[in-house]
């Protein structure tokens, strides 16, 4: 009924033992691997909270996004089975992530290009509110 050659294609790499009923479609994750993944994810969440308590300046953003990327990769590779899935699905995901990076990166780059215009505008249109710590960040006008 189902062609065995087709079945073999979809499995991809197997990790050692093969669990599951005969003829099962797809990769069966062991419950141990699922629980391990959750434990690692919770540990990384605690780590994110701990790192955020330290004042590392710009590194705070880098650290938070870095840990989030690691967590997202773990979810994608194990919970979403990308490690065992067809390569094509993996590349769909990766190309989407590449476009995400391109979109955010390019728009941030563009935004930083006209910062001097904003600076000039602020100098010619000073805010009359009392000074706050460091320099202010506002341009929106209260009603």
């Amino acid at each position: 009924m189902t062609s065995t050659t087709h079945e073999a294609e979809g499995h991809g790499a197997h990790d050692g033992h093969h669990e599951g009923l005969p003829g099962t479609i797809g990769h069966v994750s062991s419950w141990k691997s699922l629980v391990t993944v959750l434990t690692v994810l919770i540990f990384l969440t605690v780590l994110t909270v701990a790192v955020a308590q330290l004042d590392l300046g710009r590194l705070n953003v880098v650290g938070a996004i870095g840990i989030a990327c690691v967590k997202a990769s773990i979810v994608a590779l194990w919970f979403m089975h990308l490690r065992y899935d067809k390569r094509f699905n993996f590349w769909i995901f990766i190309s989407s992530v590449a476009f995400v990076a391109w979109m955010v990166g390019y728009i941030l780059f563009d935004s930083s290009m006209y910062q001097h215009n904003i600076k000039e505008f602020r100098e010619t249109h000073p805010i009359t509110a009392p000074e706050i710590h460091e320099h202010d960040g506002g341009e929106e006008h209260a009603e």
Binding site: I92, F93, M103
Partner: protein, 244 residues
């Protein structure tokens, strides 16, 4: 003409019996499964790009208004956000486990994991409701509607910046932060609600015994969707609640 029709009929009769879940345009259940999965991955790829619009708005506003983002993040309670992170990660485990149960044809396990995923999603929305209602109550809302009186300032914010006044916060455009906050978490919340509806539907189908080791594409694809909802939150939590 009539002979060719007759030939077709005889060749069809020679084919083995088709499983009842196999749609007419597929050859095998395996082909049907991988096709559905490919479509799901394409959908998830565009879901990421869909959310990226909002993440980009966040990045640009944060880059241009760093002080405002710093003050505003004190209004979010990281303990509630952290609790929601744990709830959502746990639901991701139960979602992945439901796929395992469907593959192994463990009917009871499938029903339990589907129900647990639904309940975790409901718990997430309950915590979200507590957060939203508190913010709306104190006036920490979007755009020019933003206006939090001094006595509603979070303790940490008052301790660290005793001179900060509500007028200053308003003038800095703190409403923009909350516009982004409500848009991002709101869109994510809508995805959680959709996920709850899908898991309710899966539960009913599992009750009827619709799934087996060769036919569980719906369980697998909805779990994939659920994991993407989880991944989005993995980024939302530190960006909104933790780093100021």
């Amino acid at each position: 003409m009539s002979t060719s029709v007759a030939e077709q009929e005889t060749s069809q009769a020679a084919l083995p019996e088709r499983p009842k879940q196999l749609a007419m345009h597929f050859d095998t259940l395996h082909q049907q499964f991988t096709t559905g999965k490919l479509a799901m991955w394409l959908f998830l790829g565009q879901e990421l790009l869909f959310f990226t619009g909002l993440f980009t708005a966040y990045a640009v506003y944060r880059g241009n208004h760093q002080e405002m983002f710093h003050y505003a993040h004190y209004f979010l309670d990281w303990r509630l956000g952290g609790a929601n992170t744990i709830v959502l990660l746990t639901s991701s485990l139960t979602a992945a486990w439901s796929v395992r149960c469907a593959q192994l044809e463990q009917r009871k396990g499938l029903l339990i994991t589907l129900a647990l995923t639904f309940l975790c999603a409901a718990a997430f929305m309950c915590i979200k409701y507590v957060e939203y209602s508190h913010k709306i109550h104190i006036g920490a809302v979007w755009g020019s509607n933003f206006g939090v009186p001094l006595n509603e300032f979070p303790e940490h914010l008052r301790e660290k910046y005793p001179d900060l006044t509500p007028e200053q916060l308003q003038q800095m455009g703190t409403g923009s932060f909350f516009a982004i906050y409500f848009c991002m978490t709101g869109l994510h919340g809508i995805h959680v609600l959709v996920g709850m509806a899908l898991y309710a539907w899966l539960f009913i189908r599992a009750l009827r015994g619709s799934f087996n080791r060769k036919y569980y594409g719906a369980v697998d694809n909805i779990a994939l969707y659920w994991h993407i909802v989880d991944i989005i939150w993995i980024f939302l939590f530190p960006l909104l609640y933790l780093i100021g």
